[in-house]
């Protein structure tokens, strides 16, 4: 299921899931997914609830490792290297593949410390001016700088939901990852905050490879370049039924189930 490349030049693969199956104990939540993630593109994952979208997304930065009994079969490559390889450290993977969650979850610390925390972990001797500039760049990168530059010392949890989510994005990009994973980042936000995040994603895309899970069809069609359609099989394992350029998924999908789903005719 390679996307048709009739009108776009070939893209670099940043990540690649190869026959990846994800298990929670003996339960297979995601079955045999083979999915390329193109560099500096936005890949959206859509599909009905419970089909394994979040599970698949978390497999790309080993967040599933935190669930006891979770296990991945197959390979997930980052720049050609299997992130589940024996000598690879999950912490190192997560520094290169950042994550933004469904509910904004800033640390109960100051805005500044929220952004600086991850940077300090990687480099505890960093000088204050250097750190200041990283914090500023990250907040600018997350389109939050102008709103918070006068109150960097106040608590991150005191911001509005949309601002909190952008703070979480700033926190993620402060450690300079290659890839950003976002699991329904706008589902707790109002439409205006949602639009802001979507616009932000378009600028972030110039530097980062982005994967996003969304239930919002307009969002997927507006904001993404590629779309993955997932479905649950009879044995409740999620499978990828279609992967293509977003334009094609929303105008001329190959699978009837995709067509039903994106046009809202599905369950």
């Amino acid at each position: 299921m390679q996307p048709q490349k009739q009108n776009s030049k070939p893209k670099e693969q940043k990540m690649l899931a190869e026959k990846a199956s994800i298990f929670y104990g003996s339960f297979r939540a995601v079955a045999d997914v083979t999915l390329p993630v193109y560099e500096r593109q936005i890949t959206a994952i859509i599909g009905p609830s419970g089909c394994g979208k979040s599970t698949l997304l978390r497999a790309f930065n080993r967040m599933n490792d935190l669930v006891q009994g979770a296990r991945v079969d197959g390979k997930v490559l980052l720049d050609g290297e299997d992130i589940y390889g024996a000598e690879v450290d999950a912490v190192a993977v997560r520094r290169r593949v950042g994550m933004v969650f469904q509910r904004p979850n800033p640390f109960p610390k100051s805005i500044y410390d929220n952004v600086a925390y991850g940077v300090r972990l990687g480099n505890s001797r960093i000088s204050k001016p250097e750190l200041d500039s990283i914090v500023e760049q990250s907040l600018r990168g997350a389109a939050l700088w102008d709103e918070v530059k006068d109150k960097l010392k106040s608590s991150g949890t005191a911001l509005s939901g949309g601002q909190q989510q952008r703070l979480c994005i700033a926190r993620a990009i402060a450690v300079q990852p290659d890839v950003l994973l976002m699991d329904e980042p706008c589902s707790a936000l109002d439409p205006i905050a949602t639009i802001k995040i979507e616009e932000l994603m378009q600028t972030l895309k110039e530097r980062y490879t982005i994967m996003i899970v969304t239930h919002n069809m307009q969002q997927a069609s507006r904001a993404s370049d590629y779309t993955v359609m997932m479905m649950m099989r009879a044995d409740r394992a999620g499978e990828m039924i279609e992967f293509d350029e977003t334009k094609r998924i929303f105008t001329n999908p190959r699978d009837k189930r995709t067509e039903d789903y994106v046009s809202g005719r599905f369950g």
């Binding site: 912490v91 190192a92 997560r94 950042g98 994550m99 969650f101 979850n105 925390y117």
Partner: protein
């Protein structure tokens, strides 16, 4: 549509009044307890003195300076007029500790003890003090009639059994001169040692169980056991402490191993070890609850930017769980403070006048002190026992209050 509204409402009313009744009962019981203790801690007494201070000093003693008092004692001793304080006695005391170095309280104490010889003959409760003037006067009259002609008469005075001397005096054979100093220091020493041992171990165990332990039969067993240990009667811990710390490990707990020879295993150290076993389950369980209450989103946020497990625990989980852990710690402290049975079993001293000086000292604690005093025949010991109970109760209630405040403050 009939829903028996009337009868259902009636049931609800009955339920409500039963619960109100229970609350009221609990409240009344608590107030009765407090009143009973207060009743004996304050009240009139009949005191009798061999002589009044005015016999040798025109100004009241406590208005004199330290140096004036020292000079006064010297003058009295030199005058040869007083049997209680002869030249010989003065010299002996001066040798023991020169008067130039003695404190004001110390010197007043000597004057009281040797010359004034104040004695509480009868003590009355707060209730009698307020409502039974006639009865007290009758007692006084009876006393004065029995005295030799010419000796000073008894008189009625108000006394708070909780006073500054009560906190600074050691135990004595006379109730008025006894205080809780040694017991309070003993309690503090035991609690300090208990916390020093139990806190790091308890918090460490809680972190392990919540953040590291995988679900397995062994870990389930450990968890169940910890929960059960919290319910083991404290006297069992006392037995354990007696057999293990006091006896089996005597060379360690008595300090013999470190060259201390005059002690047996019944030391602050044994008590601290025993108490830390006793409070360990409380600390673990409370810390576990606090750690479990830290939202998972915080862990994910931390792991998500590539923090290690240890960094996540240190920087996010512990700070968020701290108020809960402190609540548990305070509860454990108040438990350790009030425990009596294990202390009796491992053999806290019932009569001891020297302050605890370290882990290998003999000791007593406040509850033991109270227990000892209530068993004394002399009535005034009942009064200082009540006073000590009041001190213990106020301490425990304030500790619990702090715990509740912490809990409310941080669990919005």
């Amino acid at each position: 549509m009939k829903n028996n509204i009337a009868s259902r409402n009636r049931t609800a009313k009955i339920g409500q009044s039963v619960m109100f009744g229970s609350t009221l009962f609990a409240l009344v019981a608590l107030v009765a307890l407090l009143l009973n203790v207060v009743n004996r801690s304050f009240g009139n007494v009949i005191v009798r003195r061999e002589m009044e201070a005015s016999a040798f000093s025109p100004t009241p003693l406590d208005q004199l300076s330290r140096d004036d008092l020292a000079a006064l004692v010297k003058r009295i001793a030199d005058s040869d007029d007083y049997e209680g304080l002869t030249r010989g006695a003065y010299r002996r005391m001066d040798l023991e500790k020169p008067f130039a170095e003695r404190s004001k309280d110390d010197i007043i104490g000597i004057i009281n003890e040797r010359l004034i010889k104040e004695e509480v003959v009868t003590s009355f409760t707060m209730w009698q003090t307020v409502f039974d003037q006639a009865g007290m006067n009758a007692e006084l009259a009876k006393l004065n009639k029995s005295l030799k002609v010419g000796s000073p008469e008894g008189r009625i005075e108000f006394r708070s059994w909780i006073n500054s001397r009560f906190f600074t005096q050691t135990m004595g054979s006379v109730a008025e001169n006894s205080g809780i100093r040694v017991a309070i220091l003993g309690s503090l020493a035991v609690i300090a040692l208990t916390m020093l041992l139990a806190l790091p171990i308890g918090i460490g165990a809680a972190i392990y169980l919540e953040e590291y332990a995988v679900k397995s039969r062994l870990n389930d067993l450990i968890q169940t056991n910890i929960t059960n240990l919290a319910g083991v009667p404290s006297i069992i811990y006392g037995m354990l402490g007696l057999f293990v710390f006091v006896r089996a490990l005597e060379s360690f707990t008595s300090g013999a191993m470190f060259g201390i020879t005059d002690s047996n295993g019944r030391t602050v150290l044994s008590a601290g070890l025993t108490m830390s076993l006793l409070v360990l389950p409380i600390i673990i369980i409370n810390a576990q609850e606090a750690i479990r209450a830290v939202p998972n989103s915080l862990r994910q946020a931390s792991y998500g930017i590539g923090a290690t497990k240890w960094e996540t625990i240190r920087d996010h989980i512990m700070p968020a769980a701290l108020p809960g852990i402190m609540t548990g710690t305070i509860l454990a402290m108040s438990r350790a403070m009030g425990e009596t049975a294990p202390m009796v079993v491992i053999g806290a001293s019932t009569f001891i006048v020297s302050d605890p000086t370290g882990p290998f000292s003999k000791f007593t604690t406040l509850p033991i002190q109270i227990y000892t005093w209530t068993a004394q025949p002399d009535e005034q010991f009942r009064n200082i026992a009540a006073a000590a109970i009041l001190v213990l109760l106020v301490t425990l209630l304030s500790l619990n209050m702090i715990a509740i405040l912490l809990r409310n403050r941080f669990s919005k």
